[in-house]
Symmetry: C2
Subunit: 338 residues, 2 copies
Amino acid sequence: MSRVVIGWDIGGANIKAASICDSGCQVLDRPFPLWGRPERLATALAQMCAELGSADAMALTMTAELADCFETKREGVRFVLAAAVEAFPDIRIHVFGVDAQFHPPDLAAEQPECIAAANWMATATMVATEHPDALLVDVGSTTTDIIPIAGGRVVARGLNDTARLGTGELVYTGALRTPVCAVVRAVPLTGHRVRVAAEVFAITADVYRWLGGIDDAGYTPDTPDGKGRDRLSAGRRLARMIGADLEGVHDTDVDAIARHVARVQVRTVASAIRQVRQARRPAAARAIVVGTGRFLGRRAAGVAGLEVIEPSGALGPAVAVATLLRARLRAGDAAARP
Amino acid sequence: MSRVVIGWDIGGANIKAASICDSGCQVLDRPFPLWGRPERLATALAQMCAELGSADAMALTMTAELADCFETKREGVRFVLAAAVEAFPDIRIHVFGVDAQFHPPDLAAEQPECIAAANWMATATMVATEHPDALLVDVGSTTTDIIPIAGGRVVARGLNDTARLGTGELVYTGALRTPVCAVVRAVPLTGHRVRVAAEVFAITADVYRWLGGIDDAGYTPDTPDGKGRDRLSAGRRLARMIGADLEGVHDTDVDAIARHVARVQVRTVASAIRQVRQARRPAAARAIVVGTGRFLGRRAAGVAGLEVIEPSGALGPAVAVATLLRARLRAGDAAARP
């Protein structure tokens, strides 16, 4: 029996959905800044589902509960679950938790600590089936997960965001949405050190747009100033970080600024990789590098001295929860067969 | 002859105006996020003027040209000057420059590098008349100016924002609007080091609101989540910086986070004070500490080993340009008298 499962990864800024059946996989990634319009979440989910076609079951993971429209994660988890149930009243929803198990929405709502920000566990659990001893390095648009896998099991030390920000398993730095002022305090300019503005004038998407790591289409977030995603506009935003405009600095100066920010970001991720590796003996020797910012993860893993493996194909939490649920439903079918 | 002069300090987030005449001084400070509605600037200026009553002359300084609605500082300077002329067609406007001189708007528009971000020069020029050898430490809501004064003259090494961010004379850190993620990379939590989220979940106003340095009324910026300015809401925003909510951390944890951010901010300002002092011999022995964030400037100057003097009364760029213009017009009258 072939089931169609749609996997959901509901974040605070983006919603990703992956429809999986025997014949393949279809993925959608839509910007949805939850904090601006939480009441439209159910509609957004239903619309994305309509684009993907019908489904027999839904698998769901989320990080949206951290959005600052919610006072507590409990409130956020319940809100997102209610929106999913509203969007799909007739389809069974399976909510993935940091215990690597699926839960029905009503029980999930009772244990927000298990459900909140479990998306990394989904990806890691799936990667563990292929790579039983490795470090998963998943660099997203906003955050980076560094997850140890040993003996085919996910052996993360932190299970919630706060603990994970402490162990290095979560680093709040990403290839697109991270404000430049959260990466560096100062940048080089013609041999001097110049402090940067503590404003969200530029984000890492501007850095990699300028350096050529991404193109206009790869620059998916809103631009900080609402202006273009082209290279010149990105350069203008980077110049503004030191109180300058493109009349005041040369292209080579912007190059130096962008390269410095990229270098510091690689160093930041590499340092967290070292922290995660050191916590466990024997330390992993290879990194499985995935995510929008894999170009960054690859460099960081290299700096930290790991062999780098980059799986082909889509491999995000949405695909992971859908794949995991499909496999478990199939196993259940097999077990139920006389 | 007694003239009424209104001084203006037009920033990217706030407009300050000071009306000065023989009988005293009246000051207004209004939030005006320029990037959201630049076309309403002239109206905003006219409304603030109406509140202050009539004026014989206007003195003006600005930092608004750095707002990211402008592609270049030239464009920003011209836009602000045009708005001022539109708001006050019948009153003579005198625009202060980093050369410590006033310029008519048409000539000012031709030399944007002289006019852009000259507000620090206004305050420093006024302070220099009272304190001929000192370091002015002006901690605002968003930025901090550290200006050397020697022999009664302002002897700053940097004259534009970029140069000043290099010399330490401008530090982009302030007591209210600075994102916490631009101050610290990590905070302590029950003996461990926890990385912070690279999001504007909390600002320094939340730090000082929690610690008691400011009250609800002193919390003038918009809150990052659009919620309350009360202490509990501030604490909730600080907890969110480490992916937690107030169900997940104790009050003492939030205390530790807030104190750490405050400590790093003091250290940041103190380090810039040292850099500015070391550039000049003999180094200044006393700091004249002013600004919304003077509680922060006081601590930083103390850490840097300076004697702290805190002038009483209002002393911002708006008051400074008005006072300086009044004195110069008076001197001109005297010179013109037969």
